[in-house]
Amino acid sequence: MKYIGEHLLPGQLGHFFILLALVSSLVAMIAFFKATNAADPADERSWKKLGRISFGLNAISILTVFGLLVYILASHKFEYYYAWNHSSRDMNPEYLLAALWEGQEGSFLLWSFWYVVIGLYFIFKRTKWEAPVMTVLALAQICLATMVLGIYFGDTMIGSNPFLLVREKFADAPVFSRPDYLSLPQMQDGQGLNQLLQNYWMVIHPPVLFLGFAATLIPFAYAIAGLWKKDFAGWTRESLPYSLFSAGILGLGIMMGAAWAYESLTFGGYWAWDPVENASLVPWLILVAGLHTQVIFNATGHSLRATYLFYLLGFIMIVFSTFLTRSGVLGDSSVHSFTDLGMNTQLLLFLLIFTIPSLALFGLRFKSIPHIAKEEETSSREFWMFIGSLVLFLSAAVITWQNSFNPIYNKITGQNTAAPEDIEFSYNKIQIFVAIVIAILTSIAQYLKYKKTAGGWVKKIAIPTLIAALICVVYFLVSGLDYDKKGIGFQIALYLAFVASVYSLVANASFIWIGLNGKLKAAGGSITHVGFALSLVGILISASNRSVLSFNTTGINLKWDERSKEKPLENLTLIKGVPTDMGKYMATFVNADSTNKNGNISYYRIDMMRKDSLENFSLYPNLIRNTKGMEGFSNNPDSRHYWNRDIFSYITYAADMDNRDDTAQFKKYTVNVKDTVYYSNGFFTLNSVVPNPNNKKYQFLPTDTALMADITVFSKEGTRYTAQPVFYVKGNEARFMVDTVFAQNIAIAFSRVLENQKIELQVKESNRMVPFVALKVYEFPHINLLWLGIIIMTVGFGVSMVYRSKQGRLKAVNKI
């Protein structure tokens, strides 16, 4: 059949370039492989030349594929499944890139894109390690290209083609029997980007994270190159800046995800020990361990074997995390893994291709890797740095075990084990000790010298120790750490971790002057440690002293079931316009408003007023109606930021969320003064009819024509309420104002004045009448320390990188 209006050229071009990317990376790998193994320099040169040309071709192909996909999304070519599934016409153009990497295919391309950048950099850099490093990189490019290949071999699909058409994806759907199917309304617009992902973090977090993922390949490739060429120690200086770069960027990318989670998802925090978060944290921990052993080796000649192991495992864990998050084995245990595309076998192969040969090579060459038989002195810096690396590595190993035990064990044995009762605590109770040990080691180790330390270091560290102790004592007197839900043992551990972190912070900051005479350029390590310690302090304070402001203290007409007392009653109901007690604040739900052009985001304005001062502010937590054919809402929190704390709120329930229509009708009653009318939960009495009322609620003048019915409502529970509906005449027209007793869900209107002193009242009862929201409000104290710490840490990595790359060049010059 000939379909009308399809633009098939971009897709055909795209698929061609995907194939070209695969073939060119294959050629590049073979050529660089040959160049690495070539004995004759002329041979090596010609192979290298071929490798560079093919990699250039690969770069052009990946960039073209990227560009074509952007074009398809930007020009709304909805005949393509990728555009139809991930974008829509009303989507903000700035989310175009977010739509690009919403799908698996796009995120693989993003990853591949970074390899293009890194590979071109290495080619232009002309290092002697180019050929072996590029061989490994080209292998990664091959694996990534197969992920987006979309070719069938027999019944097995290899990769998922981003240029697939909708009619190919849903070949059996009846609409495609029409040649003009593109003119049908359902093909005029796409499904849109997942509403939760329409967030600026979605634009910046994935590129940074994937750059971090991609960069971990560099130390891996250098380690492979060292083993391969049997030049075991030749790469460790040259590659140190790259290792620093990948650790810095990966750390930043992970924490950007944490910031996103905190800002717009409702984990109620920034870290949930979710399998996806863990999967990217583990390679970072291993990489940081490797970084330290690499520094040890460069300074003393110790720990080279450990450096190899850590760098190999660092990238292997990246691929393992890719397997975990994209294969669907995590199943229900994670909220944000990718959709299973049925590529499990392929992902497993990707993992094995990088795991088995690299570890086999490591095992084979292990004996020949140089090491110093004589042991490190206990007083040496390298001894304690090595212990620190070991702790980081074991921490990563334990997290990996906890993270992947259940899905893999259940898959293999068919058992039904599940996560522990308190998942976060099962991690926290272990990692808190890791934090303590690491923080103490980072404080002390720098004051020690490589090889052997003389006695003087204790004097140097005395002042920072005193300052840190003083800070801790003051903080504990003023505030302390309140978290005692897990018993005194864990609370003591929290205190210890706090002391250790403050110590690390002060000791590292002081070291810049005590040990390095204030040379900031050389202080990258100390700066990074300061940032890390500051983050730990921020985490400890904000998590331990997080307080719930929305404790349901008074509420309106609340009937508690007695069993609920010891439960966390963290949701407070706010009825529109009624100021409600919320700890230090009076909170008022003012209105709900939708301001975006689709009308699918409702902002709830909550006015907060401090009781002890005149400070006033509004929070706008919002609800986003889900797109893409999914039911329900996503709640998006809003925070008020102070320098020392955040007030964090999100909607847990809103009256208009269920979208049921209010079907209740007004019922008419004719009443006299002193008459009583019954309703489902009690009765009310008309006390009097007041002409031209002038009170808090109504200000009528004696010249107006207005009547107010003064009514007392008696509920079954024995509570009394006042209702004052008004009937008035304005501009020769009779009007009335309804008065609502929200607590009883009744609305009363004074609709007519009848003969014989009688009036007509209309009464509506409805459980849908009261506009209200239930919300949670938390206070996170000193959360800014965490974000500031992360920024300082990233800066520290950058400073180190610059310093180490200069050092590397200097050493190279000296050698010649």
Binding site: Q186, D332, F386, Q402, T417, S426, P568, G632, A774
Partner: protein, 134 residues
């Protein structure tokens, strides 16, 4: 033996101890019947909402109390009490993972995971339905 080796051995011993204690903390996925047998023990109950029974939730009275009936794939059902806000579109959930324990015939749920057409994952089938139903 070197100090480093001793320290490595100590660390490995600690790590193994930690992991064994982790294994002890692991819980299980259960059905209503097996959760009844483990009364008072923390389990993950896999069930779905019995849509023939009412869901009690009145946020005006108490936003932290909801009660409903869950039914598992074997057809056994149990009342569930959940002391928290009702999740959005609870009624439309396809499957529930209820974390909590059975107490006197009622499942006291501490935490609930809903398997809705997910917020985070694309639901290809739902999209396909969009294609045909319009």
């Amino acid at each position: 033996m070197k100090k480093t080796h001793i320290i490595i051995l100590i660390f490995i011993a600690v790590a193994i101890a930690v992991l064994i204690s982790f294994m002890g903390d692991l819980t299980t996925y259960d059905t209503v019947a097996s959760a009844r047998q483990k009364e008072g023990k923390f389990v993950h109950l896999i069930a779905k909402l019995d849509k023939n029974q009412p869901v009690e939730y009145d946020p005006i009275k108490n936003p932290n109390y909801m009660r409903f009936v869950a039914i598992d794939t074997l057809g056994h059902s149990t009342p569930v009490i959940y002391h928290n806000a009702k999740p959005t579109d609870f009624e439309k959930s396809e499957r529930l993972v209820l974390k909590g324990s059975m107490k006197a015939g009622t499942f006291e749920c501490d935490e609930m995971l809903m398997k809705c057409p997910s917020k985070y994952k694309d639901d290809v089938e739902a999209n396909k339905n969009n294609l045909s139903s319009n």
